[in-house]
Amino acid sequence: MEIPYIVHARPDTGLTNSKLGIWLFLASEVMLFGALFSTYIILRMGVPEWPHGELDVVLGTINTIILISSSVTMVMAWASLKLNEWGKHRLYLTATFALSAIFLVIKYFEYASHFASGEGPWHSTFLAIYFTLTGLHGLHILGGMVVMAYFLGPGATLHKRNPEQFANRIEATGLYWHFVDLVWIFLFPVLYLL
């Protein structure tokens, strides 16, 4: 059975079902991360001293710049499709994928440095919430990379059959990706700077 209104908007909502669907999913994601941010506040309020300077601010800043850049390349990948520039779309989507991979590599080095000095999540309350929040965020990055890899590979053939539906899929991927960027925009100061 074909899913209705995935190419053209429903007359009553003015939206494609897929777009409303991805926004509902993102609403549930806000609740997921919201619960963890709330946990962070409870944990922080519960101790007289909160550790500072345990994380590498330089690496955190570089990762922030990388993720913001990847958000721009993602939205440009969608805009290129709307402008019928297939080559540019591929270039921007590949750049987004590469930037997200670099983000994870940097995160790996950060994690490795902690584990090498025996500072796993069990070490302190701060590191427990740090690994939980950044680990969940990292899994979201990985999920986004799987979707991008699909649209760079086998999923790209849809563009020939139905370019409008393909652009809608890239838009939904972009909405998810910007949300992942949005979460990091809050995680960075909360964990690295405050």
Binding site: G34, S38, I41, T61, L175, H178
Partner: protein, 112 residues
Amino acid sequence: MHSDPAANVKKSVRSYITVFVMLMIFTVITVAASRFHLAVPVGITVALIIALMKGSMVAGVFMHLSHEKQWIYGVLLLTVVFFIVLMLVPVFTVMDSTGTAIQAAAAGRGGH
């Protein structure tokens, strides 16, 4: 306003670049502000205000929330209400123990 969709997208591309530059500037400001060793409440307020501004730009421009359909705003309004409740949970936990024996005992320990 342009009626040509391609012209609209081209106009949007310019705003994407502007927002990108703004996000970079705000990132530098956040890191620089943290070097000033402000008092904890001031530091948290400054960092969260900047993060809110950056988040608004990402949501408004990259996620096109500045010109979205009513249904999306409806979904987000519900999300914001429940998110605020979630953020108030830590406050509820404190209120829950206000005036109880546990807090009185803790206060007593602090006094010695």
